[in-house]
Amino acid sequence: MKGFQLATVLIIGALLLFLTIGPAVKTASLEAVRRSAVFQAEYIANIINFLQSAPVTTQYALTTAKGSCTMLFNQMYVELTLENLTARSDILQTGLEIPKKEIKCSAERQKTVCFVRRQSSIDIFESEVNCILTA
């Protein structure tokens, strides 16, 4: 009987604690993902913006995390969607063409996204090996 009382009290306590803190943890997790989307979008736009001032054939390899994400590139901005949360970051307009491209992350494996400075554009593509061999 003593054990039963103890178990009941502990279960009720854990339940109350979960109900109190659970929603806050969920909100904090979503906020973390949102911020991650914002920072990642800024980071990727940064790569493109610096490559625009780099010599032709300069490359950068970005390794994506495992999970669900979509990167959308166009002439004006990078749009990153993580867990249905979307963030955009501006690309500088320097006369170089940024082709429209969509790259999806994979839940099974990390992907390598290559950015290569060409004469009149920035090439963006996925690579199975590395950017140097496939560029």
């Binding site: 004006m76 901005y77 963030a87 500088l92 320097t94």
Partner: protein, 280 residues
């Protein structure tokens, strides 16, 4: 079945554990208050990074003969002009000052309003050592984000991407540090008009009000926009929407969906409209 003695012996145990759980809950709640109700405020320093990126790109632009070596002949062509040549950031206007050998070249966007009528201004400056015709000098780039730069960015995105671009109307919050935002916002209670073909100019939302300042926006036609019909406190649920159009439209009310440009169409003009947020 428990005897009376056993029952009375169990009660203090129960009370002890009950109190223990209450204390644990109180500690848990205190931790919750201490951690989760505090929201960290992060400034993304977008303008600082934009300033660095613009400087880097100017130093390898056609204004130079090699990396960070500017040509005085090229600088003379754009000196004292409100243009942002070779490098343009959608949301930030920039002013560049290059000093060398007692000479100074200035070009780019510089605000005249400084937040008096429109938006609080975000500003960042960066000074970098460069050279002009081989003589040592400095490049100072100052970036500005305000209502005119935001509005021109909205228009440029719609024009270049041939997509409807929609930004929330912003209630001005002078000096506030904002959380990272997925979408930008813009002041909507304004007048926007193209002047001398290449400049987008801004004024108060009254027909007779003078245009206060302009940003260079070459090659993009914009139909005159004057905010009207809504009171200031009703703006918060509204959007400023830029429509890329295949042909000129009389007004937002008479906009024919068939006139909105698609990916394969040539955009002739951009039309700005105020729209309400869609009701869920």
């Amino acid at each position: 079945m428990a005897t009376q003695e056993e029952s009375s012996g169990m009660m203090p145990d129960f009370m002890f554990y009950f109190l223990l759980v209450i204390i644990a809950l109180a500690v848990g709640y205190f931790i919750y208050l201490a951690i989760f109700t505090f929201q960290p405020v992060i400034d993304l320093q977008r303008n600082a990074r934009a300033t660095l990126e613009i400087s880097e790109n100017l130093m390898s632009s056609p204004l130079t003969t090699s990396k960070a070596v500017f040509s005085s002949a090229e600088l003379d062509k754009i000196d004292n002009k409100i243009v942002e040549p070779y490098v343009r950031h959608c949301a930030y206007g920039y002013k560049a000052e290059i000093e060398s050998g007692g000479r100074k070249w200035i070009f780019g966007y510089e605000p005249r309003d400084f937040g008096r009528y429109f938006d609080s201004l975000k500003e960042h400056a960066l000074k970098t050592p460069v050279s002009v015709d081989g003589k040592p000098g400095t490049l100072t780039v100052t970036t500005y984000e305000n209502t005119i730069t935001s509005a021109s960015c909205l228009i440029q995105r719609a024009f270049v991407l041939k997509k409807i671009e929609k930004w929330p109307c912003k209630i001005p919050t002078a000096g506030a540090v904002s959380l990272p935002r997925e979408t930008r916002a813009v002041r909507c209670d304004i007048k926007l008009e193209k002047q001398r073909d290449d400049f987008l100019c801004i004024g108060a939302a009254v027909e007779e009000a003078p245009l206060v300042e302009c940003r260079h926006l070459p090659g993009i036609q914009v139909q005159k926009f004057i905010f009207k019909g809504k009171k200031f406190n009703e703006i918060k649920d509204m959007f400023l929407v830029a429509y890329p159009l295949k042909r000129y439209a009389d007004s937002c009310e008479n906009l024919n969906p068939a006139d909105i440009a698609g990916e394969k169409d040539d955009v002739v003009t951009v039309l700005l409209c105020i729209e309400e947020a869609a009701k869920p």
